[in-house]
Amino acid sequence: MSLLKKIYPPPKWRIPVIILLGAISGLGVYIVNISNATSYLSDDPKTCINCHVMTAEYITWDHSSHREVATCNDCHVPHDNVFNKYYFKAKDGLYHASIFTMRMEPQAIVMKEASAEVVQSNCVRCHKEQVTDAKMASWVFNHEESRTERTCWECHQYVPHGRVKSLSAVGYHLDPLAPESEKKSIVPDWLDNAINNPTIK
């Protein structure tokens, strides 16, 4: 009771505080809404291009050897346990959304150290068998560390985003077109109409 009293604002502040709280939560909803933050919970790469600042990465990935085998989240979100995965997503997602909404995104986005660690561990997760030799690992000192401590993209500079990384690096493609395969029907509307409503003719 006394605790509640402490955080309960004095009467003359009540109205401004209510307004402020309303504004904050409204803004929150607005941010979540404008940035489509809820879609962050999915693994579909297209959710990453809700805001076009991720378009460069999307397009480069879409043209890379990994398109068929790894989605954004396969690389950019931890896969060690489920909790970590959603915690990281939420943290990153809210952070990106705020930066974006505040229009503070830099021209050339660079991964933060924590994100780089996540990606590195994901490269290793999939490729461990190729980059380390089980035989060596069993008696060559530090074989695994030696093979996995350096960021993979120091050498594989083009996996998967290529060299040029700028919000504007993808020419005039502000956004990829929706793939044809996603349209419900391949029959044009006029023909569809013509067939289904023969009476009009």
């Binding site: 404008i34 830099p106 021209q107 660079v110 990384k165 919000l167 504007s168 690096a169 502000l174």
Partner: protein, 465 residues
Amino acid sequence: MSRKAEASFAYQPTREIKQNEPRNQVWGENYPRQYQSFMQTADTTFKSMYLGSGLTDALEENPKLVVLWAGYGFSKDYNQPRGHYYAVEDIHNTLRTGGPTGPGTGPMPSTCWTCKSPDVPRMMNEIGIAEFYSGKWADKGEEINNAIGCADCHNPKTMALSISRPALIEAFESMGKNINEASHQEMRSLVCAQCHVEYYFNKKSPKEGVPYLTFPWKNGTSVEAMEEYYDELEFKDWTHKISKAPMLKTQHPGYELFQTGVHAKRGVSCADCHMPYKTEGGQKFTDHHIKSPLANPANSCQVCHRENQQDLMTDVYERQTKIKQNQAKLEEILVRLHVEAGKAWDLGASEEQMKDILMDIRHAQWRWDFSVASHGGQFHSPVEVSRIVSTAINIGQEGRIKLARLFADLGYNKPIDYPDIATKAKAQAYIGLDMEKLEAEKATFKKELLPKWMKAAEEREASWD
């Protein structure tokens, strides 16, 4: 409103832009972002280790230059470049253009205007190219008032990049190439190559007596190919006041040197670094604040390089410092060459005895100037610039060895003192320039003639609307 929607709203031409419209603010009504960023070239605050956008007196910084250019306009006044915004103001101000008092006066030809303003294509269109190049610089003073801008690089109807200067088109032709075949990415450098290139005034061709702006690219664009070109023509820009050598002036071979570097080889264009894309309100546009990319490595370098800004800047500074070290040595060699050659003449050397030496001076200084004049060369193509500096040092020192032998022949065997040229003023006094007179003439010009030019221009433009 989503930011995607915002993007599609942006471009709605509000004003029809006429062919060769020279006024940047008129274009700016349709393209406010580009215009506003272009206007920022007026900002003079940025300073990097060696370059920047401020007014830096290159002769004050390095008085040896005064001796190297003795007898030529550059010894009077030479600054580091600043933003495009200042192109017209600076050509008014420089002592190189002297103090004209009216049409037909002053040391410089009309051709000097060519790279300073979008009024140039307008005039060329109105009166003809050779006619534009004819006459004195002062003759066209009234006609040219807008600093480098939109019409220099853009087609007003489509906003496509386009070439507005005949010299570049003719230079391509001289090499057997057709500039119309340039790719879009090449155009992003070629618009700059209209101006940031080595040039000379050809008074013989295509029209006798007209100092026709020409790029000496017929044999190629390397330092050797152009040197050969000038030697074949027996062309000289001036005769050196002290050494009497038939000199060449290299002006800013920015494009030519850039072409030899690894960035060009990887298809990077001038605009990629000097006009990187920028995003504002979901709107991607080309940053028209052309300046040192080091003022903004985040947009220019980091698009391609993941290193941190400080490391990238250090890369640039390291290359510049390593090369400048030998360029400074070379400048000292060149000063000595001129002074020693002057002494040889004094001692009665014959034309025949001096001939090879003077050619060494010509070639060494041409190469030196080639390596410094573009300002960006040490970074744009460090290996090529270093190569050029090495050859220049070698040729220059060969000349001095010949001079040492000549002195022996002439019976003179004392070392020749290095002149006291510790400051610009001392150096200018040493080569016998009357700076007070030059400055007084300029002051008169700025007080008397310049205001008339400005007024005439204002009236002309007012009459258009």
